[in-house]
Symmetry: C2
Subunit: 253 residues, 2 copies
Amino acid sequence: MKDEIVDKNSIIPIYYQLFKYFEKQIRSGRLQPGDALPTEMEIAARYDISRMTVRRAISELTSAGMVYTQKGKGTFVARPRLDSVVFNLNNFFDEIKQKGMNPHAELLEARIIKADEKLAERLGIDVNTRCLYFRIVITADGEPLAYETKYTIYSKQTPILESQLIDPLLSRLAAAHSDSIPSSSKKVLMVSKATEDEAEVLGVTSGLPVFFMSQTIYDADSKIIAWGKTIYRGDRYKLISYEGWNVEDIKNS
Amino acid sequence: MKDEIVDKNSIIPIYYQLFKYFEKQIRSGRLQPGDALPTEMEIAARYDISRMTVRRAISELTSAGMVYTQKGKGTFVARPRLDSVVFNLNNFFDEIKQKGMNPHAELLEARIIKADEKLAERLGIDVNTRCLYFRIVITADGEPLAYETKYTIYSKQTPILESQLIDPLLSRLAAAHSDSIPSSSKKVLMVSKATEDEAEVLGVTSGLPVFFMSQTIYDADSKIIAWGKTIYRGDRYKLISYEGWNVEDIKNS
DNA sequence: CTAATCTATATGTATAGACAACTAAAAGGT
DNA sequence: ACCTTTTAGTTGTCTATACATATAGATTAG
């Protein structure tokens, strides 16, 4: 009757059962930052499993950032990192749905263009290179939330599907229409005031504070293959970031 | 003369040498998304090492998100995730330094207060609970960049050091002055216009678009132990996020 | 009393092997 | 021609073991 923690006959891997057990201990606060876990040998002996299996469980905990190990000393519960901010700006289709609203993307304009000097400069390409240019507006229950302008190199000449243009992932679009493979991206988030054009599309008064995000997609050779900007309504949009070990609890508070 | 890829006599672990080798192959684009890695047995045989050592290397690649494995099929190079945004808003001390500027934090006000109704509501505590309240302004080369207002529960009554108040990590402060241990945090980023007070502290004109970030620190029982807000000058601050496999290259472009 | 050495203990690396679970293609039967 | 079964090959899990390396405290030498 020592333990129901590890069931060797379960189809669930032993290392995973152990991992989940310690994760629970830490998330609930029963194991607190700085506390030492039992040594690997102790755990192995207690549950009659191999030390390598224990190490696999601890390895998972380590890469989840929940514990850290010190050679010669032991394994300890880590302090949660509460100093970074992780936003998901792209998949707001799902976000809007989750709020019980109906997301929709409307294509305002889509054209094949030849790059002028300004665009050529921005994309690092030659003037007159063929590009795909389009603008969309994203609405929730009919109300505009974001306004996107995007450019991608159009070298494959594949047919353009409206469903593709609506895809919030610029990198996926770039993969479809350029013959380079997206490898890295750079995003810059700024605050700005809505221009007249933006205000009209978004249905707000000109000068309203908005988020301005530019996005650049690079291939493995660090060449630009796509560029886009998105304007988010400042009065309807905010970015929320959760971090730590009992995140699920605080989301409902 | 088959390989200089793995040196068994090196002090660098074999699995790490292997990991670095494949990482390089992927980052450089010689291995592209979708490409299959050699099988574990092949790699093990080729370099005369154990399969478990190969698996360790692949495990590192997997948790770095660079490859994925499919049972019964093989190991494949993953497509980079280019759809999230990771910002580091807090350690801008380092950021400012990196730009060759001189960061400084100035304490505007620091007091022990008893929570009024509004604050008690916000922190989820009783009215009259003792709290630490303070405001700081962060400058680069003397120019104000951000303006922070923070509250933490003050239950330990430890002495307050000015060096602590300047710490950009609110969770560290909360750990020092409350007897709860920070476990999770919630951050909300919005756009706003500078109020008169904010504009004066930041030395800008009232109404300038600014970033507004609120931050709430919770303990393991999901109780609030600290709250803060930060105003970032919109004309001087932008958030940059890099993702992908050749990030180091595009940073210099 | 101090400094160097030893010892016990902890995690880190690496090996060799066994079997399970899954995949895809080959082989076989109807 | 079609469906089923077999088979080879792959990753996943787990074991048992050996030695390396780091830590902290006890022991010892001076």
